[in-house]
């Protein structure tokens, strides 16, 4: 396994893909198998060999998802100039089925890659939305000294007191009587 701390000195240099002659790579040539049937036949032949099956079982036991394996195999086919990307896309579900068949035959517990790996986990977006909601509520409480109900009740008490004051009859010797 590659150490992540080590510099990748064998990585391709930017623009390296343009250094070879056009048509010098297998994928730049016309594909060897142009129809889906031809590609299926090619893969069935390849995948039925003992060597391939043994390797496949080893990889499946390492918990590599079937979807990843199928994609890698068909990409390899495109790279080798065996078929086009389109044919590879069409053939990929069949490759998955074949890989699962090999796994079932060898009685291996494999990861099909069809289950959502995030199932049962709390979504980050949900956490973020709850956090925002709480923050808004805290801000609203801090910014307001009285709630709207309290303000309404205060106003009504004030007006009642004024009314009482106004309705009281003036008392005293010099007070005018209405």
């Amino acid at each position: 396994m590659t150490e992540l701390n080590q510099p990748l000195l064998d990585a391709p240099i930017s623009g390296q893909h343009m250094t070879s002659e056009l048509g010098g790579r297998p994928w730049q040539q016309a594909p060897q198998y142009t129809t889906v049937d031809e590609a299926i036949e090619y893969y069935l032949d390849r995948m039925s060999s003992d060597e391939f099956t043994d390797q496949l079982v080893d990889v499946l036991e390492m918990d590599v998802p079937v979807t990843t394996l199928a994609n890698t195999i068909q990409l390899g086919g495109v790279m080798d100039g065996k078929h086009s990307v389109d044919v590879g896309m069409l053939v990929m579900p069949l490759l998955m089925e074949m890989i699962m068949l090999v796994g079932d035959m060898a009685d291996v517990k494999y990861d099909s890659g069809m289950e959502n790996p995030n199932k049962g986990k709390t979504r980050d977006t949900l956490l973020e939305s709850v956090r925002t909601k709480l923050q808004r509520e805290i801000d609203a409480k801090e910014g307001m000294l009285f709630s709207e109900d309290e303000i309404d009740s205060n106003i009504s008490e004030d007006t009642e007191e004024k009314d009482i004051e106004e309705s009281e009859e003036p008392k005293g010797l010099m007070a005018r009587r209405v």
């Binding site: 129809t35 889906v36 049937d37 299926i40 079937v66 979807t67 990843t68 199928a70 994609n71 896309m89 069409l90 053939v91 990929m92 579900p93 069949l94 998955m96 089925e97 074949m98 699962m100 068949l101 079932d104 035959m105 009685d107 890659g113 069809m114 959502n116 790996p117």
Partner: protein, 73 residues
């Protein structure tokens, strides 16, 4: 539909499950007196479509898989 990254395999697989339709065991019509499959039937099955052809292949392998898992159970 979830794609789980950049791998299109899952989506393609599920699409082809739909394409496959009813999984019926097609009996081979061989023999001297057997009637050949008419072109009309072939057209109805849409066998010329590459995705349908792959789906048919898939259904055969899937049936085999089911046989293996059922035998084991």
């Amino acid at each position: 539909m979830p794609s789980f990254g950049n791998n299109p395999a899952l989506t393609l697989y599920r699409n082809l499950e739909v394409e496959k339709g009813d999984d019926t065991d097609v009996k081979a019509t061989r023999g001297l007196l057997a009637r050949g499959q008419a072109n009309k039937v072939r057209k109805e099955m849409d066998v010329q479509q590459p995705s349908v052809r792959v789906a048919k292949h898939m259904s055969i392998i899937k049936r085999k898989r089911d046989e293996i898992t059922n035998d084991r159970a």
